[in-house]
């Protein structure tokens, strides 16, 4: 049995406290979500309640599609932009960085009002406008993640090698750069998905209904059911991200697997 080193003790205490701080409310909420008020015991009644609710699947699907669309929009916009900024667009980098920081300093209410007053009618009557708005909200995180990933690879050499081998810019970005920075792209994807799936304020202010607004509405009639829904949402997002991470393995693991 390994001994715990004295030097690591403060770190372990801090981690334990932090872990309890996160896990205790989650555990409590999970325990609460299984309570059945009628019989006084525990059961799946609250989960059965929202699973059988008529709009559950509908709103879950909408949220999922919007989140995936937001992630897609960001990747299509950001990967080529970040590649260009790292290869030759140094002069405009400060301006682009400023733009990507704006969603952090502009309140969501201002974004919502701006969208309502400036977007054309066809955009305001289509719920996919939310995907673009979610992409804007995720911009600061996604851009910085991609930029850091691109700085960590010999971007100029691999893009020039790809072009020399006959790949145009589109194929270079899609077939060479994106796979090379796959872990970074995935991190951006995760952040955008997580942010989009949990976004409430903007959706509510723009008068659209997604899974999060539906949960809020439902919670007003069944508090235990609402907690069960929250626990479900948390687990579902976690499983989704874990699934994507497992599906797209890092390069080194692939190589190791080949070696085996």
């Amino acid at each position: 049995m390994k001994r715990i080193r004295i030097a690591n003790l403060p770190l372990m205490v801090a981690l334990t406290i932090a872990g309890l701080f996160v896990l205790f409310p989650l555990g409590s909420a999970t325990e609460f979500s299984f309570r059945t008020p009628v019989s006084g015991g525990h059961g799946l009644a609250n989960y059965v309640w929202f699973f059988t609710a008529p709009d559950f699947g509908h709103y879950l699907w909408i949220s999922f599609i919007l989140a995936v669309s937001a992630a897609g929009i960001l990747l299509v916009l950001l990967v080529p932009t970040a590649v260009w900024l790292n290869l030759g667009g140094h002069k405009v980098r400060p301006f682009v960085e400023f733009i990507t920081l704006l969603p952090l300093v502009i309140p969501v209410v201002a974004l919502a009002i701006g969208a309502q007053t400036s977007l054309p009618d066809f955009a305001q009557t289509n719920e996919f406008v939310l995907a673009f708005m979610y992409a804007v909200l995720a911009l600061p995180y996604a851009y910085r993640t991609l930029d850091t990933g691109l700085k960590a690879v010999p971007l100029r050499t691999i893009t020039e090698a790809a072009r020399g081998l006959g790949a145009g810019w589109f194929r270079t970005i899609v077939q060479v750069v994106t796979p090379v920075i796959r872990s970074t792209v995935l991190a951006s994807l995760f952040m955008t998905l997580a942010l989009s799936l949990g976004e409430f304020t903007l959706t509510s202010l723009l008068h659209w209904d997604t899974f999060t607004t539906w949960v809020t509405t439902m919670s007003q009639s069944n508090i235990l059911g609402a907690i069960a829904l929250s626990v479900f949402s948390l687990v579902a997002v976690f499983v989704l991200l874990l699934g994507i991470g497992a599906f797209v393995r890092p390069v080194s693991n692939q190589a190791a697997a080949e070696e085996d």
Binding site: T157, L165, A255, E258
Partner: protein
């Protein structure tokens, strides 16, 4: 065999007020290997990048098989390139890396696999076909990069200091392998390097560059023995600078009169003779014109450091057998072998 001629005609590239290339002219024959040799900032890499289409010339033309390729983007130029830094795609294994160029050209999966194995076999790495970048050594990565650059039968092979990042032993081996492969495939090749030994040992011709221009282009032995100017003489090989007194058409060097062979418009007040260490003859003599300062054993050859009675120092190179009888403090007579010198203004 895929041999193409290359011509650079009046190619100029400016970065603000600095000329990276200044009206550069270069012609490379089909199947020839020409090295662009020069110090940092001489424009050799810029020239290569313009040929590859990764940079543009401000003026001048690049022609392959006599046709201008200036308007062709890099991916349509059909040129294989090997970079100084390892440029393999880390998400692909060696076989997939080699097949990448063929994939871009729409070759079938079977064609790609067969050709990739053929090329990997040529560079001696067929058994590493499934390995990824991080599972290959630096030398192996550059071999794969070379196979990748040759797989789609390029018109030109462009090598941008491909051996610089490797250790000395691997570098020497790979140098020979590249040359053998180039001769075997017959691919016209431009090889950029700042290492004169690499350039001299691998190339059909060496273009010594300085200040964005070619100072001299010639076969390695011609370049070494008859440098066109002081820069080439100083850059290629070791060179002694021995003071010379000009008198008419003659120059007095090491107490002997030699033909100055100069074509200067006005006779300079002071001049120096540029002499290779191996062009200096050393003969033991009790009252000679120089003294042995030290002797350095370098295997089959030795370097003998000398000082004249006037007090200036220079080196002589000779076989270790010849130098065995020379010791520090010995008096010797030194002279220059006929014709093996260049007299220039000091």
């Amino acid at each position: 065999m895929n041999s193409a001629t290359l011509t650079l005609s009046g190619v100029t590239r400016r970065f603000k007020d600095v000329y990276a290339l200044n009206n550069l002219d270069l012609t490379v024959g089909a199947g020839e290997l020409v090295a662009l040799l020069g110090p940092s900032g001489c424009g050799k890499t810029t020239a290569l990048r313009i040929i590859a289409g990764l940079d543009r010339a401000d003026e001048g033309q690049v022609l392959v098989r006599g046709e201008s390729i200036d308007k062709l983007p890099a991916h349509k130029r059909n040129m294989g390139m090997v970079f100084q830094s390892y440029s393999l795609f880390p998400n692909l294994n060696a076989e997939e890396n080699v097949a990448f160029g063929l994939r871009m050209r729409g070759a079938s999966k079977a064609q790609r696999r067969d050709r990739a194995h053929e090329l990997l076999n040529l560079v001696g790495l067929d058994h590493h076909a499934k390995r990824f970048t991080h599972q290959l050594s630096g030398g192996q990565q550059q071999r794969v990069a070379l196979a990748r650059a040759l797989a789609f039968e390029p018109d030109l092979l462009l090598l941008d200091e491909p051996l610089s990042a490797l250790d000395a032993k691997v570098r020497a081996n790979l140098r020979d392998e590249i040359r053998a492969l180039q001769i075997k495939t017959g691919t016209t090749t431009i090889f950029v390097t700042h290492d004169q030994e690499e350039a001299m040992s691998m190339s059909d011709r060496v273009a010594v560059m300085n200040g964005g221009k070619i100072a001299q282009i010639a076969e390695p032995d011609v370049l070494y023995h008859t440098p066109a100017n002081e820069f080439v003489a100083g850059f290629v090989g070791q060179m002694n600078r021995i003071p010379a007194q000009i008198s008419g058409s003659k120059a007095r060097v090491l107490e002997s009169d030699v033909d100055a062979k100069f074509d200067w418009e006005t006779q300079p007040a002071e001049a120096v003779a540029l002499v290779r260490p191996e062009a200096i003859e050393v003969t033991p003599a009790p009252n000679g014109n120089a003294t042995v300062v030290a002797r350095a054993f370098l295997g089959p050859m030795s370097k003998v450091m000398l000082q004249t009675t006037q007090g200036f120092s220079f080196d002589a190179s000779m076989t270790s057998d010849q130098s065995a009888s020379l010791h520090s403090g010995d008096s010797v007579n030194v002279s220059i072998k006929p014709g093996q010198y260049l007299v220039v203004p000091a």
